[in-house]
Structures are given as structure tokens and as C-alpha cells.
Symmetry: C2
Subunit: 470 residues, 2 copies
């Protein structure tokens, strides 16, 4: 399974329950390179603002640190910020991450060569956010002394936390939801992620786990038999017929992503994802996967009945498209480049403590693949060296939230670092459930987590106000 | 007076009392660009190590954050680190700042075009230091868990403080001596610097101040008279004759630097500077400048008798060289570029509250001049935005020391920010006197300052050791 692809999928989950939030769209001219003077180009960054509930006399600014996708997706799917803006009289700002959405520094050329793509790093993105906030505070009457609270989920949560660590004079606190800032080389064992995915299925039934674990060998056996690829193409209603082992590999990558995605999106209410998903999708899926004792073909037929939960919950899909792309507003080129440079996140599977096809973490092959794709070699220790890895004891004013259903929690901060850098665990939570809008089906643990986040936000704002008026 | 030139001169003062400290020279391969992947070049950074007193089982590392010059100068002139290394059993490391000394990223081309010079920024230099320390801790047996304390004076002090603010996981504390981190646009009035210089002379005599204040008009009057340039060339024994108004301007710039330099180097013992200086050089100089009532030519003759203290203390100079360069190991191109990009430090003089020739701060002209020299425009708010300006309340473990004789103290942190970010004032101190080796003529205030710095260093190291063993 390709770790480069995986992380992008985090954002697919937030394309759900599309409320219509009111905001206006703006653009700001940013420097392409904030840290050097060799490249003196500029580009246009998009950001969204809602001041519907803002107290124009110094009310706080809630700032979403945009991550790997079109910012409108995050604006429409981070209900928590919208839910609490009225109670805080807060302005809401969503900043688009460079190289995503329409914020392309070099337009159509942005992904064509390192000299164009090379400025896609978290450090540059954070510096964009610094510039944008300084600008907004100078340009918007009444905002000059406003407290700024950063929010983010997944990679956006990493950015929110790092934002507070590096620029505590710009933001007064950060809510970092499902932010795997430890999912880097030498910080988290590469096998933990798959183990949590597997555990999510084991909660439903051990047979469900066994069916999936045995499916890899079954696929290999069937597709190497004569006529087997044709059989599987028909049995699984594949949109594109299997013709070569490369297609089989693609199919297995697709399955790996499906099982992972379901773990991340295992929400207690229906959510609209690549395909619409029912509430508690793993539970629903596992009701179909009950007999791991089948022979290969029968096992794969059973697996397919479960897969339908994922690719055909509505019953409208005519075939299963393993090459299916997400919303056109998603662009996986950006994250692929980031994963090939700074965001190197090691994953491995052994098929024993997890149900995936065994696959070691092979950095050398990974790096060569990156070089072939992008002309760059990864710097796997760049992020830990710049941001501190596990040693964040000097930080302040960050809430790290993690759901125990979420495999990304294995790379998260799961302990209280200090009085002001705290960890909130949501036992029933999948990927950044707390950032989603409130829902009648929310477990008490996410309601409590949001309460705590609001309490910290209140403290950060009050502390800022008292400092400014002192 | 050209603010771009001024700051470089800070380091001229440390070329004094050249003790022979024993160190070995090493080189480390660094990335030219730590924050992007467009430029993937490397360069060779020089650094110096002494482990003479090091406890090889986890003793601390004293790390000098090299500033605008050849690192051997700093190694030979930062006696405080050498003085206290034995008591702390510390390894001593001096890292050369990129684009200075022999650490030139593009060799002879380093200063020829923005695409080569553009990577000369404080952010890139700090990232070099991060990489170097991580490497040293991995490469030197016994250093893995060592506490690292950063030291620096002047711009090096700014780097040491910023290093702790941005990378608290890499260094456990910083001693930032005479570090004017507030000497930026909108943070410190541009006229304060000249006022402190003037006050240093006023302490000796108001007549001394008046002679200097009147000298500008006298020079203007004399050199616009027929034959006046020739007269002044002879009277002041100028190595190069005055021929045009541009030469007169150069002469006045030289004088401005002389008065400033003497204020910075007003040490209580003889120090070897551009020219050797006596102890308390301003006192010595002012004994010559006693009668501001003279007519222009007589006033200038009197001024010259004072100048001899500066340019001819040894009595060996045959003429006064206003174009005199410092030690060949100094290279003012680097600081000139930095002052034209990130390190924009506004200075202005009114001739009323200071004794300089009136000169407003004209950013527009300054910026155009920079563009003409380097092909870049300054970013005057870059450093305050990135490093926080006055809002450093989230920082920890920094001692800011400032001498009240030092004009750079006007841009320093002169108040206790918190229990762990403290200010030490040295009333009798000139520019980073506390970083110099101990001297029998040291005032009690610098002895006390060093005591306090040692106490904080001890706390930082002990706290690190207890954290690592916990």
C-alpha cells in the first residue's frame, strides 16, 4: 500500500453533510518563497471569510489552517467552527493551502518541475498564514487586537499545532484534531496504523477480520489461475477488466484503501463520502463477512457482498470502479509531492497483527519512486527536525484530539504534555469527528471533547484580551 | 549614515585580545535551501570544536550561533564561553554563518546574483544550525543526550534568541548578548540609537558633544570654500585627498562610524580594534575636545587631535584612511545583503537630541539603493513577523543582556518577559562586554551578569538532564 496516496484520503471524509455556510471569497497576494530571496515570484492565495457573527470590536478570529484540498471543502465540512462561532462572536476564516484548490503558485505549470513544485512545503504554507493574518488584522477595522485561534484536522491539524509552536505571537491557541505529528520516521512504528484499522473490524467480529485477511491470498490464487482474472472481473462487476498483474495490484491497493477509509470514516451517522456510507459502516460491512472458511472464489464472492456497502450503498452503481477519483475539487498531485518530500509517513503491514497483505516499509524503493515521479528525493527527517518530533514540551496552548477508532491516532499526541498542551481522547471517535458539526448521533465522548475545546478556546481568548488591555 | 554598513561593524570589536584557544576545524555538508525543494544544491559549512573540557558522558554543548563574519574571529573573541567551559565540562562549538568566512554556498559566485545570494537569511542560517546539532549529537559518542546552550552576541545574539524560540527541542537555552531584536521598523524609534551614542560622550563632557555636533557644519563650510578640501586633506592627514563632495560625504560617514564604534567599544581596558584603542576610549578622546567655541578650521583641528585616539593610538599611522577596511577576514558584502533584505534596521539623526548630522530615515531611497546594489527589495517586516517583534511572551529559557553604554541596547529586550526569559542590564557595559573573557578591569556589573548567566545555564542543563533521565 502506498503511503503517499493514503493521507490524501483523509479529506475525502469531510465531503459529507454539506451544509450551506455563508462566506465570501477573497484573494491575497503571497510571496512564493518566504525564507529566501532567490525566487521573488508572487501568487494569489484564496481565502474565505464569514463575519456574520463577529463582534466588530475585537471579537476573535477562528482560522482554519487549510490542508490538502480545495478550501471550500473544509469550509463546508468543519461544522464545529461554524457551530461555535456565534457563542464566541467570532469571525471565521478559511485559508487555502498553497498548491491546492485555486491557489496554484505557478498555474498549470505548478506540478511540472521541482522549480515550480518545490515551494509546496508546510513551512511555506504556515508563512502564508502568518502573512494573511497580519494582513487581515491590519485591513479589517476592529480586528487589530483580535485573538486568533487556529483549527485544523488531519494534516490541517498538524499545521494548526505547528502554527502555534512556531508563531505563538500570531495565534493564541490551536485545536489540532486527528493530527498525526508523530507519523514520521523513527517516531511511530510503521505497523501501528494497520493494527488500529484491523482492530476496528475486530470490534465487530473476528470472522470479518479473517475474511479480509484471507482475501489477499484468495485474490492471488484466483487471478493466477487460467481465466481467473475474467472470473473476478465478472464476479466483482469491475468497471475495467483485469488484464495483467498490475491491474491486480491496483485492485489490492484499492481494497487496502477501502478498509482504511472505512476505519477513518466509521462515523455513527450516515456520511456522504466517495460513495455514500451508512452509519457505522464497518458494523454494516461485517454483517456480510461471516465465513472465512470458504474456498477462494466463494470467499471473494462473500467479500464482494460486503464491499457493496462501500461502493454501492445507494444501489445505483453499475460497476465497481477501482480507479475512481474523488470529487473533482480534490487534487492528489499536491499530497503526492508532499509525501515525496517532507511528509514521509512510513507504513508497513505483516498480515498477522493486521489483516493487510504483508508489505514492508522500504524507504529506498519509496525514495526512488519519488525521484522518478517528481525529480526530488524525500527528506524523511525534515519535519521532525524542524517541528520537534515528540519533544514539544516548550509549546503552549494546543489541544490535540484523537479518536480511538481513527488509525491516525497512532501518530497523534495521546498524552497531556503540560497544563496548556493537552490531549483529548474520543474513544468512539473516527477521524476528526470533533471538527464535524454536532449530530444527534454523536457519542457523549465527542460532546465532551468539544466542551473541553471550547473551554480552552475561552481561556486563550480571555488571556489575550487581558494581555492586550494590560 | 548608512544603516546597512553600521551593523557589520559590531564584529570589528571582537577582534581584540586574541587568546589562543585550541579547537579543531570541521566541515559539514548543508542544504542551501532547507524550506523548499526548488534549489537542491548543497554547500560546505565550517565549524569549530573544542572538547578539551568535555565530559564525554553527556556533558553539555556550548554552541555559538555564528554571525556576520569569519567564525574564527568569534571563536577567538568570545572568552566567556571558553572561561566557563571547564566548570560545566562543556564541549564548545562555533558554527560559521552561511555566506561568511569560508562557508560560501556558491563560492565566488555567492554574491553575484539573487539566485546565488538569495539564500542568505537568518531562517536558513538557523536551519543550518539545527542540522549541524542533530548531526553532531548522532555522530559524537556521548553527545546524544547532551544539553545544548546557544550563545551569541549582536546579530549572533539575535540568532541565539530566535534559535531558542523556534527550535526549543534543539537547544535548551540561549544567552543573547546585545541582541537588538527590536531594531526593526515600527518597533524602536529610529532616533534612539544616535541618542545613546551621544549620551556616552555627554557622560564625559558636554563640550565634547558640542565639538562633534558643530563639526558637520564646519566640514561643510570649510570644504565648500575655495581650497578648503585641500586644507582639510592636509590638516587631517587624509590618505586620499578630498576632491569632490562625494569624498566629503565619505569622510562624514567615516566620522559617524567612528563615533558609533567608540560607543560600542567603550570598554574599560585596552582593546585591539581596527586601530588599537585605549581603555575607556571616549574618556580619552573627550579630553581633547574641549572648546566648541572655535571657528570652523580651528574646530576641525581640535577634532583631529581627538580622532588620533582612534586612528593613531600607537602613533604609527602615517595618514588617516577613511576607506580603511577591517581585518581581511571580514566581508561586509554579506551583511550589506542582509540589511537590504531581512535585517532592515532604521536609523535617523536630528542633530538636536544627538550630535550627528541630521539625516532622516528614508525607506524608499534605502529600498531603491538596495535594489540597485543587489537586485532585491527589502522586506522590512519579515523578521518581526517571523520572530514576533515585541511579543515573545511564549518563549522560554533566554537571557538577554544589554549594556547601557551600548547604543544597540535601544533595540534590545530590556525587561523581564517572564521567569525564564529575563533581561540583564550592565550599566557600565558596552557592546556584549559580558561575552568577552574576564578581565581585571571588568566592572562589578558585568561580573554579576556573567554570574546570572551561569546560574541560568546551570538550571537549563539540570532541567534537561532530569527530563532525559525521567
Amino acid at each position: 500500500m502506498d503511503g503517499r496516496i493514503l493521507f490524501l484520503l483523509t479529506l475525502l471524509f469531510i465531503i459529507s453533510s454539506c451544509h450551506s455556510y455563508k462566506y465570501r471569497t477573497y484573494f491575497y497576494k503571497q510571496k512564493v518563497d518566504h525564507f529566501s530571496f532567490a525566487d521573488r515570484d508572487s501568487y494569489i492565495q484564496r481565502y474565505l471569510i464569514s463575519d456574520e457573527h463577529w463582534n466588530r470590536n475585537g471579537g476573535p478570529i477562528f482560522f482554519y489552517a487549510g490542508n490538502e484540498g480545495d478550501i471550500t471543502l473544509f469550509a463546508e465540512n468543519t461544522g464545529f467552527m461554524w457551530d461555535i462561532a456565534p457563542e464566541f462572536n467570532a469571525m471565521v476564516v478559511f485559508a487555502e493551502h498553497r498548491y491546492y484548490g485555486v491557489s496554484l503558485p505557478y498555474g498549470n505549470k505548478s506540478f511540472t518541475a521541482p522549480k515550480y513544485t518545490g515551494y509546496l512545503t508546510s513551512e511555506q504554507a504556515l508563512a502564508d498564514y502568518v502573512e494573511l493574518i497580519v494582513y487581515l488584522k491590519s485591513a479589517i477595522h476592529g480586528a487589530e487586537k483580535s485573538a486568533v485561534i487556529a483549527f485544523g484536522g488531519s494534516y490541517g491539524g498538524m499545521l494548526a499545532a505547528w502554527f502555534r509552536m512556531k508563531y505563538p505571537h500570531i495565534i493564541q491557541g490551536a485545536v489540532a484534531a486527528s493530527a498525526p505529528i508523530l507519523q514520521f520516521t523513527d517516531l511511530t512504528p510503521c505497523n501501528k496504523f494497520g493494527q488500529v484499522v484491523t482492530a476496528d473490524y475486530a470490534r465487530e467480529s473476528s470472522k470479518c477480520v479473517e475474511v479480509i485477511r484471507k482475501s489477499w491470498a484468495a485474490i492471488n490464487a484466483v487471478t493466477t489461475d487460467e481465466g481467473g482474472m475474467g472470473w473476478l472481473t465478472n464476479a466483482w462487476k469491475l468497471c475495467q477488466p483485469l488484464k495483467a498483474q498490475e491491474d491486480v495490484k491496483n485492485l489490492k491497493d484499492y481494497l487496502t484503501n477501502v478498509w482504511t477509509n472505512l476505519a477513518m470514516a466509521d462515523y455513527p451517522y450516515p456520511a456522504d463520502f466517495l460513495a455514500p456510507l451508512p452509519a457505522n459502516p464497518i458494523k454494516v460491512l461485517c454483517t456480510q463477512l461471516t465465513d472465512p472458511g470458504h474456498e477462494p472464489k466463494a470467499l471473494l464472492q462473500e467479500l464482494f457482498s460486503g464491499l457493496a456497502v462501500y461502493f454501492n450503498f445507494t444501489g445505483k452503481a453499475k460497476c465497481m470502479n477501482v480507479d475512481q477519483q474523488a470529487d473533482v475539487r480534490l487534487d492528489d498531485r499536491g499530497w503526492d509531492f508532499q509525501a515525496c518530500t517532507e511528509m514521509v509517513m512510513p507504513f508497513c503491514y505483516d498480515g498477522i497483527d493486521d489483516f493487510f497483505e504483508p508489505s514492508p516499509w522500504d524507504f529506498k524503493a519509496y525514495a526512488e519512486n519519488c525521484h522518478q515521479s517528481w525529480g526530488v528525493y524525500p527528506r524523511p527527517l525534515m519535519a521532525p527536525k524542524i517541528y520537534g518530533g515528540k519533544d514539544i514540551s516548550a509549546a503552549s496552548n494546543i489541544v490535540f484530539s484523537n479518536g480511538l477508532l481513527d488509525p491516525w491516532s497512532t501518530g497523534g499526541i495521546m498524552w497531556n504534555v503540560s497544563d496548556s498542551v493537552v490531549s483529548v481522547i474520543i474513544p468512539e471517535g473516527a477521524h476528526h469527528l470533533d471538527l464535524r458539526g454536532s449530530n444527534p448521533s454523536d457519542p457523549q465522548s465527542v460532546i465532551d471533547a468539544r466542551m473541553l475545546e471550547r473551554a480552552f478556546i475561552k481561556i486563550w481568548i480571555e488571556s489575550h484580551v487581558s494581555k492586550k488591555s494590560a
